[in-house]
């Protein structure tokens, strides 16, 4: 049996044991760059996805999602100027977040612009977009600007103060949850259970970058890739929380996403997941790395 007092101690130890804000600062920089790139990718197709005369007219969008999804576009006059203003605000906020300038304000504005853009045409967004919104939302509450930032530089701060890493823990739990729920969703799929799912993904979809070589169109290769994917997604759920397994699993997940990047076009999904994986790097290991690089 475990007492409530012991649970409270474990909760506080997990969420609130102070540590240097280096991991969340690294995450902030990488996340800002991904958000910036995402905004740049929207620009050439902005009128198609966000415009009143695009594939989802303002009237159709209002009729379907008016009031259901938050978006600045609900209150802005439909047209090019509104799109340009929101995208410009997005790029400025992403740049400021990357640099750690007015970090909390930048994260808040970026969350508003990200959500506004995604919600203007929700059916062209993907899992990476959803995860970006959650990451950005959590960053608002984090001490991500306390290290490696213009905010810290302007404040004349020396060594960044240790603080409660509860936002970092939520980010880690969120990433772990994404993998585990993906595994659970796959268990219901016949192609995942029989080991052919990866074959169909490669062969059928427009996601693939290259023609699939005959050597990996075989059943055994498909089974290896399909069940390997499921094993990794399961492991990133509960097993990544075991200290000795954390880095091997994070490394395996990074190799998995880099492999997907080579084989498939998933836009920024891989970059978002790789950015998320950095939350599992210990700030003390980052400290040691920085010290070693300075020597």
């Amino acid at each position: 049996m475990i007492s409530l007092a012991d649970l409270a101690i474990a909760w506080n130890a997990f969420f609130h044991t102070p540590e240097p804000p280096l991991t969340i600062a690294l995450f902030r920089i990488l996340f800002g760059l991904v958000a910036l790139t995402s905004g740049l990718f929207y620009m050439p197709h902005a009128s198609l996805w966000l415009g009143p005369a695009g594939t989802l007219s303002h009237e159709r969008w209002e009729a379907t999602y008016g009031g259901v999804l938050f978006s600045l576009f609900r209150w802005l006059p439909p047209g090019r100027r509104s799109i340009a203003a929101v995208l410009a605000l997005h790029l400025v906020a992403a740049t400021c977040l990357t640099l750690g300038f007015w970090t909390r304000v930048s994260a808040t504005i970026l969350f508003v612009t990200l959500t506004s853009i995604h919600h203007r045409h929700p059916e062209v967004t993907h899992g990476g977009d959803s995860l970006m919104r959650m990451m950005c939302f959590l960053l608002i509450f984090s001490p991500a600007g306390h290290a490696w930032s213009l905010d810290a530089l302007l404040a004349g701060a020396g060594t960044p103060p240790v603080s409660s890493p509860w936002v970092l823990r939520l980010l880690q739990l969120q990433i772990s949850f994404v993998y585990f729920q993906s595994f659970v969703a796959k268990v219901d799929g016949e192609t995942w259970r029989e080991g052919t799912a990866v074959y169909w993904v490669w062969m059928v979809s427009d996601y693939r970058r290259w023609p699939v070589p005959a050597a990996i169109r075989t059943l055994w290769w498909s089974r290896l890739a399909t069940w390997g994917t499921m094993a990794l997604e399961f492991s990133m759920g509960p097993l990544v929380w075991i200290r000795e397994l954390r880095y091997p699993l994070v490394a395996a997940a990074a190799v998995f996403h880099l492999g997907l990047e080579v084989l498939m076009n998933l836009e920024l999904f891989g970059a978002v997941m790789l950015t998320g994986l950095t939350t599992f790097i210990s700030p003390y290991d980052l400290e040691r790395l920085v010290a070693a690089l300075r020597r």
Partner: protein
């Protein structure tokens, strides 16, 4: 415990509760418990559904096209860009085209179909278009380990017409 600690721990608990409960069947106790928050969380863009080609990826290759009929009886053939035909960099920035195509073909998001038809009418306004037929080109793909042509039978299906009857 001071007020800010209560607030922070309450926020953590709420975030984890929503993440864990999201997508649970609405008649389960977790589904019922999270129900009062669903609309607000969804509005804020923090809903959680993680599938990643689950439960099963598509096993046929489908592509979106349309035929626009003009007032004089002529026709315009229109094809949605195929990502597989694009160069690496172009394909990267046009990823959302693929998502859009899949959504138009998905019955769960069929509200996109009249919106697309109206877009095509605007796109070809100079030709006085009067009708749009959305077409789905479907190809079979051989099963794993089966040699032979990658593209077998092709089926063309008009899955939406505008204006609606």
């Amino acid at each position: 415990m001071n007020a800010s600690a209560i607030l922070v721990n309450g926020f953590i608990a709420l975030y984890l509760f929503v993440a864990w409960s999201w997508g649970q069947p609405s008649d389960s106790w977790l589904g019922r418990a999270v129900a009062p928050l669903v609309n607000f969380v969804f509005w804020l863009g923090l809903g959680q559904t993680w599938g990643m080609f689950a439960p099963d990826p598509a096993m046929v290759e489908g592509h979106l096209a349309a035929v626009v009929t003009t007032a004089d009886g002529g026709t315009i053939e229109w094809t949605w860009p195929r990502i597989a035909d694009l160069q690496y960099r172009e394909a990267f920035s046009m990823f959302r085209h693929q998502k859009y195509e899949a959504s138009v073909l998905d019955d769960d998001t069929d509200y996109l179909r009249p919106a697309l038809a109206e877009y095509l009418l605007r796109l070809h306004a100079d030709r006085a278009p009067v009708r749009v037929d959305l077409i789905y080109y479907e190809h079979d793909v051989p099963a794993p380990g089966v040699e032979g042509p990658h593209t077998l039978e092709r089926r063309d299906l008009v899955f939406y017409s505008y204006p609606e009857a």
